[in-house]
Amino acid sequence: MNHQKREDLVKSVLFVFSITASLILLLIIIFLFNEAIRLFQEVSFLDFLFGTKWNPEQGLYGAFPFVFFSIMATLGALIIAIPLGVSCAVFLAEIAPGWARDATRPVIELLAGIPSIIYGLFGLVIIVRFIKVSLELATGETILAGSIILAAMILPIIISISQDSIESVPKSFKLGSLAMGATNWQTLRKIILPTALPGIFAGIILGVGRAMGETMAVVLVLGNSENMPEVVKQLLGKEGSSTVMQLINQVPEILFKPGEALTSAILLEMGPAQVGGLHYSALFALGVILFCITFVLSVASNYILSRSQISVR
């Protein structure tokens, strides 16, 4: 066999291997939808997504409480992680002297490498207890505890992507601003951060995906009660009516109440669910929601990242 033929052979064999990732993704989609479809023959998709009552014994499958709690915990995590993560990224990219950078980088890698179950264990023993004692609540297993743990877990991804995009801001932008007499902080605020913004945004989106999909830490600290808080019922207009301001005033209350995330529901209810039954199918439908959310977020952030790299160069 001459070498051209051999090369073509190797190339086609490698091609087969390289589509495995796409194949697995396709299989995940097929299997998730295949199991979830049975639910949608009984319950309409909109009733499933926006229904507020989840009670498999009575045949009620409303996923909205889970979606709501996942979003609340994620928003809370973002409020903590964005300022902290972006300023740490600025520190690493712009301010840190060499030794401080060398000391911080492995810390962030390690933070990313700690298994989620250990975050959960730590959260349950330290943060949940701390919240319970310091705020004098009946239970410390709250949305707030989930947000704090999720914040720690998404910090590494926000930091590393923000740092990359801050570092990819052309040096000339910065020098030009400094030459005009601007201080470091002015340069950072008016020149560097705005230029790096798309990349930072992409990192945040990836962090949102991570937080929504996180399972083990959330299931341990969130308390797992899918009873919808009053404020959500009002938001949905099912009970009574109230002004927008009243609703906004009540939002902080939810932070101090237990909740149950999408991921937790799948994990906790798979045991009791009967294989092939409607409940089992409904849990796969929750998986479909999760998959769609994270898929869209991932595609969006990669699109932003690829666009911003081109524009920076």
Partner: protein
């Protein structure tokens, strides 16, 4: 009004503070797990069989099971990931197909771990039950393998891309074919990067819980012949079991200590191997 010099200094302080805060978060978590863990961890904790539903004795089956699962995951993901990376870097110009593969890899990386758990449950536990035997090392290991495939592909890709063009061109100039260049120049000099990827994949697989939670046994189980198709325990799932069922938080911390040690040692050795090979391969 705060003048610009003052705000400059204040913001500098803020940035230093945020980095210190993040460092202290890490040390708080690691420190707490070590302090709590070291109380229960000793040689027999690691090497004995558990007794009384994991309340006494050791955690040997969980450690062994974790290694079995991770071994299967790596055997699947490493060859496949490296070959995919070689194809993407050496054989293919950027076109629609490579961008489809890349989007798939990124999306696969973003799939939540519990969704992998659902997928494994549906595919291996029920659909292929006759072949996999249901919740076995094979099923759990492959599910983990699917999950770490993107990590391996990405790190291998980065490693392959760092091979200098001059070395490849030198090889071609000496009359080597493309396959010779890849097998004698490109792969050997990217080995350190690939090994780093393998070890990162190892750490990630060992620390995952949700993908294997439907695939492992909770009662103490030692894998028996045929190993691939027998049941096993895992460290992560046992930590969850002991914590959520309130069996023993102390022993959950002992397991967490062992798990973190495995991950820290593997990460550190990845760095050492990388350094050592990087120095020795480039004669």
């Amino acid at each position: 009004m705060i003048n610009s010099k003052t705000s400059d200094k204040v913001m500098k302080g803020v940035f230093w503070f945020s980095a210190l805060l993040i460092i202290s978060i890490l040390f708080l978590i690691l420190g707490y797990v070590f302090v709590e863990g070291i109380r229960v961890v000793n040689l027999s904790f690691i090497s004995d069989m558990p007794k009384n539903n994991w309340r006494e004795g050791g955690i040997y089956p969980a450690i062994v099971g974790t290694f079995y699962l991770v071994a299967v995951a790596l055997l699947f993901a490493v060859p496949l990931g490296v070959l995919t990376a070689i194809y993407l870097v050496e054989f293919r110009k950027e076109d629609n197909l490579t961008s489809i593969i890349r989007i798939s890899v990124d999306s696969l990386n973003a799939v939540p771990s519990i969704v992998f758990g659902l997928f494994g449950l549906s595919l291996f536990f029920y659909y292929l039950k006759d072949f996999t035997g249901g919740p076995t090392i094979f099923s759990g290991g492959l599910t983990l393998g699917f999950m770490i495939l993107p990590t391996v592909i990405r790190t291998a890709e980065v490693a392959l891309r760092t091979v200098p063009l001059s070395e490849k061109l030198g090889s071609y100039a000496l009359g080597a074919t493309k396959l010779q260049t890849i097998s004698r120049i490109v792969i050997p000099s990217s080995i350190p990067g690939i090994i780093t990827g393998v070890i990162l994949g190892f750490g990630r697989a060992a620390g995952e819980t949700a993908p294997i939670i439907f695939m492992v046994a909770l009662n103490p189980t030692m894998p028996e012949f045929p190993y691939l198709f027998s049941q096993c325990n895992a460290l992560t799932t046992q930590i969850y079991y002991l914590t959520s069922e309130a069996i023993s938080i102390e022993r959950a911390f002992g397991m967490a200590f062992v798990l973190i040690s495995i991950i820290l040692i593997s990460n550190y050795s990845a760095r050492l191997i990388n350094k050592y090979l990087a120095r020795n391969i480039r004669r």
